[in-house]
Symmetry: C2
Subunit: 316 residues, 2 copies
Amino acid sequence: MIVALAGGVGGAKMAQGLQAALPPGALTTVVNTADDFELYGLRICPDLDTVMYTLAGIADPVHGWGVAGDTRNTLDAIGRYGADPWFLLGDQDFATHILRTERLRAGRTLSAVTGELASALGVPGPIVPMTDDRVATLIDTPAGRLEFQEYFVARRQSDDVLGVVFDGMDAARAHPEALAAIRAAEAIVIAPSNPIVSVGPILATPGMRAALDEADAPIVAVSPIVGGRALKGPAAQMLATLGHDVSALGVARLYADLVAGIVIDVVDDDLMAAIEQVGLRVLVTETVMGGGQDRRRLASEVLDFARSLAAQPVAM
Amino acid sequence: MIVALAGGVGGAKMAQGLQAALPPGALTTVVNTADDFELYGLRICPDLDTVMYTLAGIADPVHGWGVAGDTRNTLDAIGRYGADPWFLLGDQDFATHILRTERLRAGRTLSAVTGELASALGVPGPIVPMTDDRVATLIDTPAGRLEFQEYFVARRQSDDVLGVVFDGMDAARAHPEALAAIRAAEAIVIAPSNPIVSVGPILATPGMRAALDEADAPIVAVSPIVGGRALKGPAAQMLATLGHDVSALGVARLYADLVAGIVIDVVDDDLMAAIEQVGLRVLVTETVMGGGQDRRRLASEVLDFARSLAAQPVAM
């Protein structure tokens, strides 16, 4: 059993590679839900859906989010009614949000609903929300405190990030299925997702960090920063304004007391020695994932790396 | 000011003709809401939407319901998740249901939401739900009591109708805007909608019948039965199993104590004398509405007929 901790597009690609490299059902993907929000009365869970669509093989190959070949007729009609169609939702995507919202309102948990939807799409292993409780990432900027999707989508990540708050986190509890998967895992992979707003909330969910710290399995992270830039999204600017090094070394430092090893890209080869100085083993390989072959190859290397760390524990 | 009482497709066509024949805003359409139901957690109002789409000029010209050229990608995706896509909803149509449901859940009334949506689509006159309260038509059949859409759509009107119940009607109140429009009307037109399950609930809404009886304006009905058959839907079988004559005469008898006149089709010319015997004036004309020209022509004739009845009250 392998556990991946994942945010959106980068996390989904990593999870897809792991799914392809493992026997069916052997991967449990624990997903950030702090980006979730309500729109038009529907519960939108961007990371859960990106992971689900990707693991189901129906994700849009260009954007990485949404369903391949989806249309926007519902959203266009919403615009015709005068509502602002600022968040791009496809017609097939709306089906996900409609059914999820219906079932949540009927009293089901997010994890139960996610399991049903993912099963119907043929995803072989569990996709587990980090928590069934509501948590909301808020972004402090010079323009004030913003809801995450306002910062991320509506304002196109143009604000400096001065701080990040996970509203509701104190009252949240890590999902028991996530904790059980972590305890039973052979290896745990932190996907190349944004360390601050994608992996950050997962690690901050009460109960999660203790389970990870107590896990027998080696934990490895894949750096989302390659050559000093984020593969996708605002991770680079966010790390910078929050005072972190915008590099694989900066990521290594963020995860240093949690992981045994980190996977960095060949272009960051020169950071290897410095990362080893913070106590982590390093795998240097091609980490920029294109299609399925790439993802599977990286996943196999990451798994081999993790297994090698289990065999030879790092002295820390 | 003119008031139309309308169900779905037939009512919408009549209302569109009246709208075309009248100055902008002069038509108030009072619509049946007893067919409304919840599907996938969304409030669906089939008759309100058919009237709204038709008056906005965007209704599907073939079916009469739904939006012209609409796609079904959301519904297909709902089917992929294993939910039964038994009720045909288009992608643009989903926008209506999503926004309506959001606003109703926020505490808005159905009439307020309908007004907003219809305005956004450019409908010039008020579309008023018969009530803001929830009423549900239930159909008694040999197979038991069925919800209306189960009888109407899922089971394709194949059950004999032994009785009709408007659940919740006792507690409902006719919409004040409908009552005010009826009081102020120059003429009131009962559209060629199903007398039992479309016009029936409107007339049964507490407060509605009294307002109609006290109205100064002449009330005229357009027969939905032409040549012994319903133009659309199950009105004929329903009238038959409920013991009514399946003819324009049967319709005239149903409305005899409410209307001053009835409009029947030229093919029913031979029923004119019998209908006059029940005390109604009769206009014989082409009542089968095709496109917009037809609808406007019929509407003009219906309005002239109603005005003639106002000038020469029928002795009853």
